[in-house]
Amino acid sequence: MKTPGFKELALGGLVAGVLVLIGYEALDINEAILFSYIVWFTSFLYGFILLRAGFDYYRIKYSFSLTFISIVIFLYELIVILTGGLGLIQAIAVALTPYLGVSILGSLREKIGNRRTISSSIKTRITLARRIRAVFYQLDSTMWFFMVFGFAYLIVFMLVPILLVLVYSFTPPIGGHWWTNFYNVLRTRQYVNFNPIYAEPLVKQQLPDGSCILVLRGVNYGPVLNSLVVASIVTTVATTIGIIVAYVLARYRSPGHTILIVLAMVPLFNTPFINAYVIKLIWSEAGPISIITRSLTGCSLRIESLAGVIIAQILTFYPIVYMNAYTAFINVDPSTEEQAENLGARGFKVFRSVTLPLALPGIAAGSTLVFVFSLEDLGAPIVFNERYLISYKIYEGIINAQGVISPEVAALGVILLLIALTAFLAIRNYVSMRSYAMISRGGRWNPRIRKPGILGALAIYLGVLPLILFAMLPQVGVILISLGVLKIYPRENKLLFEIPQNPFTYIQQLLSKPEIFKYILNTLIYAGVSVIIAVFLAISVGYSVSRLKVKYIPNILDALATSPLAIPGLVFALGYYIMFTTLGEILPPSISLKISPASIAFEAWVIFIIAFSVRRLPYVVRSVFAGFQQVHESLEETAMNLGASRYKVVFGVILPFIIGYVLSGAMIGFIYMATEVSTSITFGGIRQDQAPLTFYMRQYFTGAAGEGPYLVAAMGTLLILIQLTIVIILVYVFKQRYAFIGV
C-alpha cells in the first residue's frame, strides 16, 4: 500500500468537518454537540493512524511554513476548546485536527524515541556520585551566588505570585465547584458570546445639523473572545504592514532611505495613554481622516470601542514586526536568493518561495510579541473606554477589589496567561529550532540592495512613505499638543492649530509644580533602583546560563528570565496583589500594615520596584547575555588557568569587556520601566502619593480642568526626550543598531 500523504490528511479532515456540520443540521443540539466531540476525537485518532501507516512527519518538522501552520492551528483549537465554540467554528477546528494530530503525535514519538536511545547507552555507565561531583565542581562560590540569587528572586517575585493567581482562581464561589470560575469565564454569555450584543460594526448616524457621521465600532463577542479577536486582527494586520515596510526598506535603496528607516521606528516611542488619545483624535470627526471621508462620502468618520482599540494597537505595534522583519530580511543569505534567480525565478516568486520562508522565524518572533502586547494592553482600552476586554476586566477587578479580589478575575488572568504563554512558547520553540537559517556559511555577504524601478518608486513614495508618516502622527501630535500648538476643543469637536504665547508653558509646569513633579521623581527613582537590581539579576542569570554545563538548570533559569515577556502585566499585578494580601494576613500587624494593599499605610513603592525589575528583566538579560556570548570562553579559561578565581574573572576580566552590552541593557530596561503601565496604574490608585508617572497620565488625560491632556502630552514629550537620548547613545556610543525591541 502507498504511504499516506497530505492528500489523505486533507480528505479525512474535510470529511470530519462536513460530518460535524451535518450533525448540527440533522440532530438536535445536545446530540449534535456530543456527536461533534466524537468526530473531533476520531479525527485526532485519524492523524495517529496516518502516522502509523507511514505519514512522513519530518515533512512538517523540517518545513519552515508547515510547522508555523501547525502552531497556528494548535492555538486556534486550544481557544475553540476553551471557549466551547460550536457550529462552523468547531467544524473548521475538527477539519484541521488530523494535521494537528500528526504534528503533535509525530513530535511526541520522536521525543520518546530520543529519550530511549540516550538512557539506554552511556548514562548508565557513569556513577551517580561522579555525576553529582561533576556538577558541584563547576559551582564555586560565585556561581552559587549567581544561581541562588537568580533563582530566588525569580521564584519569589515571579513564580510564586503567578502560582498564587492559579491557586486562587480555583477558589469556588458560594455553592460552586472548583471549576466554577473557569466555567463562568469561558462558557457564560457575560464573557464569551458567540451571538454579539451590538452586531453592526459600522453605523451611520444623522446629526441634528444635517451632517452625518459614520461610527466604526466592531462587534462585541464578550471580553474573552474580543481580546482574542482584537489580538488576532492586530497581529495579522501589523505583521502584513510590518513585512511590506521591512521588505521595501531592506531591499530598495532610494533617496531618503536612511531617514525612512529611522522614521519608521518613531511609533516605538512609548507614551502611554496620550498616544492612543491622539490616535482617537485623528480618527474622530475633528481629525484628518474625516476630512478625507467627508470629501468621499459626505460623512465624517469616528472610531469607537473595539475598532478604536484595534486601529490604535496596529499603529503602535507594527514597528515591532517591522524591526524584526527588517533584521530577518537583512540576514537572509543573499546567495539563496541569487540562486533562485539564477534558476529562473523572478520578483515576487523569489520573495514568496525563498526570502519569506527563510525570514519567517524572525518575523514570527516579532508577531508573537505583538500578539502578547495586544492581549495585555491597557492604554488603548482605557482611552477608548472599551470595557469588554480581558485586560480591562482584570484592571477593574483589581481597582475595585478593596482587599478582596474576585476569584473570577483570577480565572480571567489565568486564561490570559495561558493564551499568551502558549503562543510565546510555541513560537520560541519554532524560532530556536530554525535559527540556523541565520548563519552564514561563508562567502561574500552583500545584502541585495537595488534601485527601485518606476513601480518600486511608486510603491515607496505613494505606499510606504505615507504609511510611515501616518504612523508617526501620534508622536508628532503628542509633541504639538504639549507645546500648545495643537489645541483641542472637545465641545465643538474641533482640533485647531494656534501659535502659543509660550510653547513651554506645560513642560515648565511639569517641573515647577511639586504635585506633578513628584510623579516624575517617583518614576525616576523606581526605574533607577529596579534597573540596578535587574542588571545584577541579568549578570547572574546570563553568566550561569552561558557558562554552566549542567543539564536542565541553565535552561530552566533561562526560561524563567525570559518568560516575563510573555506574562501579561495584569497577571503580575494580580499576583502581587494576592501575594501581598496573603503576606499581610500572615505577618504581624506592624509589618502587614505596610505591605497589605488593603491598608492605608501600604507601601506601594516596594511593589513598583519589584514589578519593574521582574517585568523588564528580559530586555536587560538579552543584552547582557549577548555580551557574554561575544566573549569567547577561552578568554575566561586563560584567566582561571593563570590562577584567577571565578569572581575575579567575571568582575575583573569579562565585565569590563562587555560593559557596553550591560549599559545598553540597563538603558533599554530603564525606558521600559519608566513607561510601565499595568502595575503602575493598578497599585498607583491605591497609594496615589507614591504613584509613578504613568498613573498620573492615566488619571488626567481626559482632563476635567481642561489642562489635563496638555500636561499629559508634556509628560509624553518628556518621555520621548528620554527615549530619544537613550536611543542616540545606544546607536552612536554603543553601536547597537537593532537593540530596541524584539524577541
Binding site: T117, R130, H632, S634, E637, N641, V653
Partner: protein
C-alpha cells in the same frame, strides 16, 4: 617540574564519547604530544588536565597529588589556546602580568619583581619593547608569542598547548616550531602539546600519543610510531603508505610471508607480534622502496606501469600499477619519467610492516 598521570580517563557529552579509557604518563620535563584527527578527543583530554572539564571516570595526578577535582585556578598549569585568547582590552604588559598579579600575595611579589619577570618573559619570546601595544596591533605570530609569554611567566608546573601553531602561515609555523622546542628545552618544563599535524608532532616531541575516537591507539617515540605502527590507523595517519590486505602463509618469529588479496604477489615482512591472525594488512612506505633492482634475500623485485606522476619539487610522487595493485612510490625530482612507462622497483622486506586486522 611535574609528572602528569592520567588514569583510565573517560568523558562523555550526552550520548557522544569524547574520551574513553585514556591512560597516559608524561614524565618530568618531557615534551609530550597528543596527536589525532579532529574530534578524536585530544582537546578534551587537554582540558581535563587543565581542569576545565571533569572526567566522568578516572583520575588525574600531578606527581602523586590527585588533582581530578581541583579547580582550574588552583592547578598552576598554563595553557596556550588555539586562538591565543589574549584580552583585547589589556596591553601586552597587562596580559602577561595578569597571572603574577593574581598570585602576587601568594608568591610575595613586589611590583618591581613582577615587572622584572614580565620583562624576562617578553625577552624570552623576543617581544621586548611591545609592552604598551594592544593585541589588535600585533601580527598573528606576535600575538602567539604574547600568549606564550603569558603562560611561561607564571612558571607553571605544566605547560599546555592547544594547537598553538594552527593559525599561523606555513613559514611562520616552521619558525615557531623551532622556537617552541628551544624554549621548552631551555626551561625544562613539562609540556603537553595537542595537534592534528603529524609533522609538527614528529619534529618536536619526545613522545607522542596517537588518539582516535576517544582512545589512545599507540604511544611512543616518533620513530617507534613511524616505523613500528601497531595499527593500520597509525600507519595511515603518520606519513604516507600503501596498505594491502592479505593472508598469512607462514610466520617464523617476527618474519612473515603474506599472500596479498586480489593478487598473486607474495611479500615478506616484519610483524610486531609473534602470533598474527590469518588476516593481516601489509604496510609499505613509499620512501623505503628502491628504484631499480637492488635486492637482498627476502626482498622482491617487481615491474609496474607508472600510472600517475606529480612533481612537487623535491620529489616526484608516483603511482605504480603492478597487475591490479596500486603502489605509492617516490622518485627523485630530477628524474625524467613519463606516465605509461615501465619501472622496476625493489620492496625491502625489513621495512615492510605486517599488521593484524582486527575485525
Amino acid at each position: 617540574m611535574t609528572r602528569v598521570t592520567l588514569e583510565n580517563i573517560s568523558k562523555y557529552y550526552g550520548n557522544v564519547v569524547a574520551v574513553e579509557d585514556v591512560s597516559l604518563k608524561v614524565e618530568k620535563g618531557e615534551f609530550f604530544t597528543i596527536l589525532g584527527p579532529s574530534g578524536c578527543g585530544k582537546t578534551t583530554t587537554l582540558r581535563i588536565i587543565a581542569g576545565f572539564e571533569v572526567p566522568d571516570k578516572g583520575k588525574v595526578y600531578f606527581d602523586d597529588e590527585d588533582v581530578t577535582f581541583l579547580k582550574p585556578y588552583k592547578r598552576n598549569t598554563a595553557m596556550v589556546f588555539q586562538n591565543y585568547a589574549l584580552w583585547p582590552h589589556m596591553t601586552v604588559y597587562e596580559n602577561v602580568a595578569y597571572g603574577l598579579k593574581i598570585k602576587r600575595k601568594e608568591l610575595g611579589l613586589t611590583e618591581e619583581e613582577i615587572k622584572k619577570r614580565v620583562e624576562w618573559a617578553l625577552e624570552l619570546v623576543k617581544l621586548k619593547g611591545f609592552e604598551n601595544r594592544y593585541p589588535l596591533q600585533l601580527s598573528g605570530g606576535q600575538q602567539q608569542r604574547v600568549a606564550l609569554a603569558r603562560a611561561l611567566v607564571v612558571q607553571p608546573r605544566v605547560l599546555l598547548l592547544d594547537e598553538p601553531l594552527s593559525n599561523l602561515d606555513a613559514k611562520l609555523r616552521i619558525e615557531m616550531r623551532e622556537e617552541l622546542k628551544r624554549l621548552q628545552r631551555s626551561l625544562g618544563i613539562t609540556t603537553i602539546y595537542v595537534t592534528h599535524d603529524q609533522l609538527e608532532a614528529m619534529s618536536m616531541s619526545d613522545r607522542i600519543a596517537v588518539m582516535n575516537r576517544g582512545r589512545v591507539v599507540q604511544a611512543g617515540t616518533p620513530k617507534e610510531l613511524y616505523f613500528k605502527p601497531r595499527s593500520i590507523f597509525v600507519a595511515d595517519f603518520l606519513g604516507r603508505s600503501s596498505i594491502y590486505r592479505g593472508l598469512v602463509l607462514e610466520q617464523s618469529g617476527y618474519e612473515v610471508k603474506v599472500q596479498l588479496e586480489d593478487s598473486n604477489l607474495v611479500l615478506k615482512g616484519i610483524a610486531l607480534e609473534e602470533k598474527l591472525p590469518p588476516k593481516v594488512a601489509v604496510v609499505i612506505r613509499p620512501e623505503v622502496i628502491k628504484i631499480g633492482e637492488d635486492a637482498e634475500p627476502g626482498d622482491i623485485v617487481v615491474k609496474g606501469i607508472l600510472e600517475f606522476a606529480m612533481f612537487t619539487g623535491e620529489k616526484i610522487e608516483g603511482r605504480l600499477r603492478i597487475h591490479n595493485l596500486k603502489l605509492l612510490i617516490y622518485l627523485p625530482g630530477y628524474m625524467d619519467v613519463s606516465v605509461g612507462s615501465e619501472l622496476t622497483i625493489t620492496i625491502p622486506w625489513r621495512n615492510t610492516v605486517i599488521l593484524p586486522i582486527k575485525e
